[in-house]
Point group: C2
Chain length 334, copies 2
Amino acid sequence: MPATLKDIAQLSGFSITTISRALGGYSDVSPKTRQRIIEIANQIGYEPNLVARQLRQQQTHTIGFIIPEDTFSDGFFSQLLMGIGHAAAQYHNDVLISTQLPDNEELAAYRRIAGGNRVDGMVVARTRQNDPRITYLESIGLPYVVSGRLAPDEVSDFPYIDVDSQDGVRKAVIHLTERGHRHIALILPPQEMAYTAYRLLGYCLGLDDANIPYRDEYVVTGNLEHSGGYEQTHYLLANFPAITAIVACNDHMALGTMEAIRERGLTVGKDIAVIGFDDIVSAGIATPPLTTIRQPIFEIGERLIQMLIQIIQNQPPKEQQVLLPTTLVIRQTT
Amino acid sequence: MPATLKDIAQLSGFSITTISRALGGYSDVSPKTRQRIIEIANQIGYEPNLVARQLRQQQTHTIGFIIPEDTFSDGFFSQLLMGIGHAAAQYHNDVLISTQLPDNEELAAYRRIAGGNRVDGMVVARTRQNDPRITYLESIGLPYVVSGRLAPDEVSDFPYIDVDSQDGVRKAVIHLTERGHRHIALILPPQEMAYTAYRLLGYCLGLDDANIPYRDEYVVTGNLEHSGGYEQTHYLLANFPAITAIVACNDHMALGTMEAIRERGLTVGKDIAVIGFDDIVSAGIATPPLTTIRQPIFEIGERLIQMLIQIIQNQPPKEQQVLLPTTLVIRQTT
DNA sequence: ATCTTAATCCAAAACGTTTTGGATGTCAAC
DNA sequence: GTTGACATCCAAAACGTTTTGGATTAAGAT
C-alpha cells in the first residue's frame, strides 16, 4: 500500500490536482504550498505510480527487446543488450526484456509486448529472411529499429543499423591472400540469417581481387557456436588438405576451428590461419589471440537506441539506414 | 490507436463488461456471444492493454533488475541475466532492466522502479556490506531476492542464493597444496564486496589444512577486471619470487594473471599455477584452459526467480537461504 | 465602487481494464 | 400464476495519475 497523491491531498488539505501540479513543477501553485506538499511527500515516501502515469500519458518510457530462447551464451547478444541499456538510460528509458521460450509461437511475445502497449518502441535483432516480426511491427505502427539488414535481394526499407560485413570479410580474405594463402575456406552462418549472403559476397570479392577461383567445396555452414566451427573444420581439413586458411563467420566458431586444428596436430597461425568475426572478449584472450573482424557491438546498441528515441519523438533522423565499418583486428592467428 | 474493449463493444453491441468476460473465459457468457466476440477481436487485431490491466489488478507480472553502470563486459552479469530471463519467462513474467548511470544516486533507480510500482519484485545482485538497497526494499515491503549474502559478520536475514565460495576457495587451495605449492598468493575482490570475506576465509582454512602459515603480503586486492589480475600479478611476482601459485577471485582477473605471468617469461601451469573463480565461457577456451572454481551462474539466476515468484505469490519457500556448492574444474593451469 | 489582471486552486474527465453486485429474461416445477 | 433456479448480460466503481477548463480570491487600475 504505497502512498498516493490522494494521501498527500488528505494530509495537506489540498486537492489531488494541486498535489500533482506542485510535484510536477507547474507555476500555478504558490511557493509555500509547493514546499509544504513536497515536505509531506518526502515524509511519507511518496513515489509516483508509473503504471498509472503510463496509462494516462499513453507512453511508457520503455523500450522492448525480445531475446530468442537459444541465445544464452551468446556474447553478441549480451553485449548488444548492454549497449541498449546504457543508451536507454541516458534518455531516461528502461528496457523491457522478454525471453522467448522454445515452444512459443514466435510472434506471441511481440504481440503481447508491442501490441499490449507496454513499450514505446522495440529493437529487433537477428533479422532473418523475410522477417515476420518486422511485418507485424509495421502493421501496428509501433516505432522500431533493427539490428541488421535483410538479405541483399530484399528491400530493407526500415530503420536499421548494420555493419558492412561484406567489406569486412573481403578485407579478411585480402589479408590472407596478401600473405600467400590461396586455399581459403569459409564457414558461413545458417542460410536463414539475413547477413549470410553479405559475407559470402565479401568472400567472393576478396578471392576475385586476388584472381583466385571460387571453389564451392570450400564453403560450408556452421551453427554459429563453438561446435559448428569445430565440426566443420574437421570436415574441411580431412577432405581438402590444400586448405591453409579458414574464415569463420563468428568468433565462437573460430575458436572451435582453432581447437579442431590443434586436435589434428597442426599449429594455428602457422599451418592454418584463422580469422573470426565479431571480436568478442574471448577473441582477444584466446591463445593465440584471434585475428578477427571487429564490429562495434556495444556502439550498435547505443546507436540503435538513439535512432529509436528520435523516431519515437517524431524526429526521424536523416540517416535511417546506417552501415558501420568493420575493423580487421590482426592478432596472431594469421 | 490500438483497438480496445470499447471498440469491440461498439462493433458487437455488447457491453464492455461482457467483452472482457468473454475474452477472459468466464462462464457467464453464452457460447454464441463469446464466439462472435472472439471473432471480432481477432478481426480487428485486439490485444489487451497491459498497462491498464496492471493498474487495475495492481500487479505487473514483471521482475525488476537494476544493472550497475560498470558492468558492461561482465560475463557474470549477463549470464545471470539470461538465467533470470529464462526462468521468468516460464512463469509468464517479463524482466524490466534499468541501467544505472554513473552520476545518479544509487537508490534513485530502485525508488523509481520498485517504489513506482512497475514491478512485482526485484532481484538485487552484487551485495555489498550493509547494502542500502536491501534496507530500502525491506522498508517498502516489496518482494525481493538477493544474489549473494552479506559479509559473515552481518546477518543476512533475507531470501538469497549464494554460492559457498569459502568452501570453493578452500578446495582450490587444497588442490594447490596437494601439488606441493606452499607459497600461494590470493587476489581478492574489493573490500566492499560482501563475499570478499568468505573467500579470504576459505583461503586461510585451506592453508591451515596444510599447516602453511598465513602471510599477509601474499594477499592483495584487484578490481575484478582483467587489468586487476594483470597488475597485481606483476606486483606479486616482482616482490615475492617464492610464489608458485595464484588464486584470483574471478576469471577475468585470472586471465590477467596469466598474461602477466607470460610477460615475465614464465610458463602458466608450470612455473606458476593459476586458479580462477566463476568458470565463465572464456575460462574454458583460454590457453591453457583455466582451472577454476565454477559457480552455476545461469542456475542461480533461475533459482532466484523461482524463489522470488513464490514469495510474490505468498508461498514463501521453506528454503529461503540457499548455499550452492562450487565445483573445482581442473584444467591445465595447475 | 467597478473592472482587469494575476495568482491560486480544484472538480471532473480521461487513459483501458477488471470486478462487484445486481438486472433481466427464460424455463421448469409446483 | 407464482416461485425458484439458472443463464446471460451490464452499469458503475475502481486502480493512480495528468490535464482541461474553469472558479475563487486578492490586488491594482480606473
